[in-house]
Symmetry: C2
Subunit: 274 residues, 2 copies
């Protein structure tokens, strides 16, 4: 049994490409169709209702393109809309929150787990909800910290400057004071800050990338359901965005790597956009 | 202070490119000069004395090329020759074994750690030696398992077939029976098997990639010693090999990604080669 259909992955922008990269490391024969909703990026300031509408719209677009599963590679969209997406399509749907929380529950030794993400993700409570669902009666303390400046540093390629390290120290000091031994990187941009986060948190703290953890779930689901592609020729990936393909491609090569070729602009129904 | 010199990285073949990839994720502004000793690959069947000679020869070649540090991105060479390389050059030298062992000491909850690698790496005892050095009087049980067939699967791009999963189950069953909660991927090819290893070991076992852990050490050392490159234009990487550059480039793009361009053939003193 071999299923040559693509894995559909979407995000509000380029961050979800770190998830694609982890998926392609684990599953080099799987084709990916990525959609970055760059015309409506970022989702942070949007209302819950808007993000749900966008996420369902994109998921339906991917299913029309005949994907075999959908990865919601965006913390905001996972927090707001994972259940709505699951209800809207008949293919398996994976988000980025539950895999990272599950890994943290397994990994922490002292029951104190830090979470860093955008303001909206941390304020949404989605990680706490996932913890309550996955570890009922959990004794784990999950301590969130918004790191609003990080995305801009990553998009500039700055992972080492004194300004970046000062921002990291400012954000992370409360988590160190709280004694966390495990840190969830709750934003798809943050795997690219791993060196800096490790430097500031110190070697005793385990960093969990939601990109890597989500990729493991994708591997499991495709394997269990007989949806793997067994063809040995290199797969063709496709990259679509709703905004400027040049901007998208420039950052895309940095986030994903060699598999990123050109991006196509695709117009969804954009009446709800700004 | 900004140091534009390259980080020198070497391996017997292409596997060390997974280490380069982790380094470039953390440090996108650093240029890398990679040397794959493909004419003498693999180092496994070589004598200890031969591997020491090769490693020192390559390290001196990299220093002549003016690198600012050296990463021995090869388990065999790290096991055999890390101290010889340190004695031969005046730049900082990092291997792949100590970073992974340090991470395992921090991560294990039950004190039972698995190690997978090639026959030679596992038989060398280098990981046990590193554990004794880094965690004196350690109560951690480190259980090694050679996985000789894995490299060939990875080089074919096969990470999901029934044959690969059967091999993984055969190799990993003793480690599961031993109750390990942490598994060191002690070969630079194995990060590309992460999905399969996770599938077979189950979600309770933490996988530690020596590539990721080594990259964190590189970040620390360059930062501490003021050796980071602060230039913001994209760095130029160079890839050299002692054997066929076509073979090297074909696998190199798969292992590293976009930063892999063409490879140059460089002849070291090859009188000791087969």
């Amino acid at each position: 049994m071999s299923d040559p259909r693509a894995i559909g992955v979407f995000d509000s922008g380029v961050g979800g490409l770190t998830v694609v990269r982890s998926i392609l490391d684990d599953l080099p024969r799987e084709p990916v169709l990525y959609f970055g909703d760059t015309a409506r990026y970022p989702y942070g300031p949007r209302t819950l209702e808007e993000v749900r509408t966008f996420a369902v719209q994109i998921a339906r677009h991917l299913v029309e393109r005949d994907v075999k599963m959908i990865v919601v590679a965006c913390n905001s969209a996972t927090a707001a809309a994972i259940e709505q997406v699951r209800a809207a399509v008949s293919v398996p749907v994976v988000g980025v929150i539950e895999p990272a929380v599950r890994a943290a529950v397994r990994a922490t030794r002292n029951g104190r787990v830090g979470l860093i993400g955008t303001e909206v993700t941390v304020a949404s409570g989605a990680y706490h909800d996932a913890l309550a669902r996955l570890d009922p009666g959990s004794e784990i303390a999950l301590i969130g910290q918004a790191c609003p400046a990080f995305v801009e540093f990553v998009e500039r390629g700055d992972t080492t400057s004194p300004a970046l390290l000062a921002a990291a120290e400012r954000y992370l000091t409360p988590l160190q004071a709280a004694g966390v031994d495990t840190l969830i990187l709750g934003c798809t941009h943050y795997p690219l800050l791993r060196g800096a986060l490790h430097h500031v948190m110190g070697p005793e703290v385990l960093l969990l990338s939601s990109a890597d953890e989500t990729a493991k779930d994708v591997y499991e689901i495709l394997g269990e359901r007989g949806l793997l592609n067994e063809m040995t020729r290199p797969p063709d990936h496709r990259f679509e965005c709703s905004g400027d393909p040049e901007w998208f491609a420039g950052l895309g090569r940095r986030f994903l790597g060699p598999e990123f070729l050109d991006a196509d602009r695709v117009s969804l129904e954009l009446s709800k956009s700004r």
